[in-house]
């Protein structure tokens, strides 16, 4: 008789399986409708960006290339110039090729002036490959050190 017992157990398991999916059918959905609802990306480590220090209102990159040297994927292209009469250099060009960056965070750790940080952005998409290179100085239109406001 164990054949019919086995068949009965099989049918019961099928019905129990249907029960589980049936219950899920009536339960609320877990979907986050992305373009209309935004995720909580407060801890997300996005592309690297320069920190805006409140006291100077600008970044503090002295173009020392420490980040460029430690970067495993060699994503950095940095140029700096010394404003006349100042000791420290200032970065004039700061590009990161975000398509080769692996977000390892070594540059954030190694920066002597702690002016690099993870951003919260996660929606960078581009039609052209050249647009995946981020210009970190874009959000800083003019550098107060060069225009004499700060020394």
């Amino acid at each position: 008789m164990n054949f019919t017992a086995r068949v009965a157990r099989g049918i019961k398991s099928l019905l129990v399986g249907l029960g589980v999916t049936g219950r899920h059918l009536v339960r609320p959905v877990v979907t986050l409708q992305y373009p209309h609802q935004r995720p909580d990306a407060s801890h997300w480590g996005g592309p690297i960006e320069l920190v805006t220090f409140p006291e100077t209102g600008t970044h503090d990159c002295i173009a020392c290339n420490a980040c460029a040297r430690i970067c495993p994927s060699d994503c950095f292209a940095i140029e700096g110039k010394r404003p006349e009469g100042a000791k420290k250099m200032r970065a004039t060009k700061f590009l990161i090729d975000f398509s080769t960056c692996s977000l390892c965070g070594l540059c954030v750790d190694v920066c002597p002036t702690d002016t690099l940080q993870y951003s919260r952005r996660y929606e960078d998409v581009a039609y052209r490959r050249s647009l995946t290179v981020n210009d970190l100085l874009a959000p800083f239109p003019e550098d107060p050190y060069f225009t004499g406001k700060l020394a």
Partner: protein, 340 residues
């Protein structure tokens, strides 16, 4: 319907008008229903999996299937070089025709089925066996090892599951006494404790076997081994693209709808329901509701169960379903003999 029929009877003659109205009616009924069915399947699948399914295309994604069909219309029709061209091109057409004919034999209302045939049921069962021919043609002609495997699997599967379906239908015919579908619904139903009940209640085992059989016949999970995505890439329609693939896609859902309607007519009492006599239009509504109940259970099963292995599927049909269906047939005959 009859006004339109009279209008057309002039130029085309009686038979031509009936044919034209019939074909246009069936195509319209099927197309609208299938578009709705595909959308319903994606929504049901979504909500079973705690997600939303199509949302962005029209309110709640209602126009999603229209977008899919339009896109498939606009696709390039690739014909691989080494295929057996004639058979390759014929397969998508052939897969669609039998289900169309079967659809016309289902009685929609008390007034007049399109083809009120005395042996409707027998014609239906024979025609529903034809789709597997087209599937095997598609598999064989597209010169792709996966497709040939898929084609051969579908032949073995449909042959194995055609017999239990046939036996289940026979036991209902025994109880009803007629093979004319229209009379089958309108005849007085068997009485259980004095209350007229549809045949499904009298023949529960036949109903379950019929339901399992049509799930296998429409190649739907857990019997979807001919187009098993995780094993045979695309199964028999691996090499079809664009509108030809849409024909297979369309045929699968039409097949499901029509066999669901057949199941509803046989076991759930077709278009009969309360107040059906007074308002003739309620007939098709009842039939649709019952069909969608059957179809919903098929969808529910698809999104719950894993796929059976090929040899397990065969042994399940030959060793379990067919003996069960035979026993049920014999039991029905004995019971009827005793009662009569």
């Amino acid at each position: 319907m009859s006004a339109l029929h009279a209008l057309l009877a002039g130029p085309l003659g009686g038979f031509g008008a009936t044919l034209l109205v019939g074909v246009v009616g069936i195509m319209g009924y099927l197309t609208f229903n299938v578009l709705f069915l595909i959308w319903l399947e994606r929504k049901v699948a979504g909500h079973i999996q705690r997600r939303l399914g199509p949302m962005e295309v029209g309110p709640h994604g209602v126009l999603q299937t229209v977008a899919d069909m339009l896109k498939l219309l606009g696709k390039q029709l690739l014909t691989p070089v080494a295929t057996d061209r004639f058979v390759y091109l014929l397969a998508p057409l052939l897969v669609f025709l039998p289900t169309m004919c079967v659809a016309s034999l289902i009685p929609l209302g008390r007034a007049q089925a399109f083809a009120d045939m005395p042996y409707g049921l027998i014609i239906i069962v024979t025609l529903s066996g034809l789709t597997v021919l087209a599937i095997f043609m598609a598999g064989w002609a597209s010169n792709n090892k996966y497709a040939v495997l898929g084609g051969m699997r579908s032949v073995a599967q449909v042959v194995a599951y055609e017999i239990p379906v046939l036996l289940a239908v026979l036991s209902v015919v025994l109880v009803a006494g007629t093979t004319n579908l229209h009379q089958l619904v309108t005849n007085p139903w068997p009485r259980l404790l004095g209350v007229p009940v549809p045949y499904g209640v009298v023949e529960p085992l036949a109903a379950v076997i019929f339901f399992i059989g049509i799930t296998a016949e429409t190649n739907r999970a857990p019997f979807d081994i001919p187009e098993a995505e995780s094993e045979l890439v695309g199964g028999f329609h691996t090499e079809y693209s664009g509108m030809r693939f849409a024909m297979f896609f369309f045929a699968e859902y039409t097949n499901m709808l029509v066999l669901g309607a057949l199941g509803a007519t046989l076991f759930l009492g077709g278009f009969r329901g309360p107040f059906q006599g007074a308002v003739p239009l309620l007939g098709p509504v009842y039939l649709l509701l019952k069909t969608y109940l059957v179809v919903f259970v098929m969808m529910w099963a698809r999104w719950t169960f894993p796929r059976l292995r090929f040899d397990q599927l065969m042994s399940f049909a030959w060793k379990l379903l067919i003996p069960l269906a035979l026993a049920n047939l014999v039991a029905t005959a004995v019971v009827l003999g005793v009662l009569a």
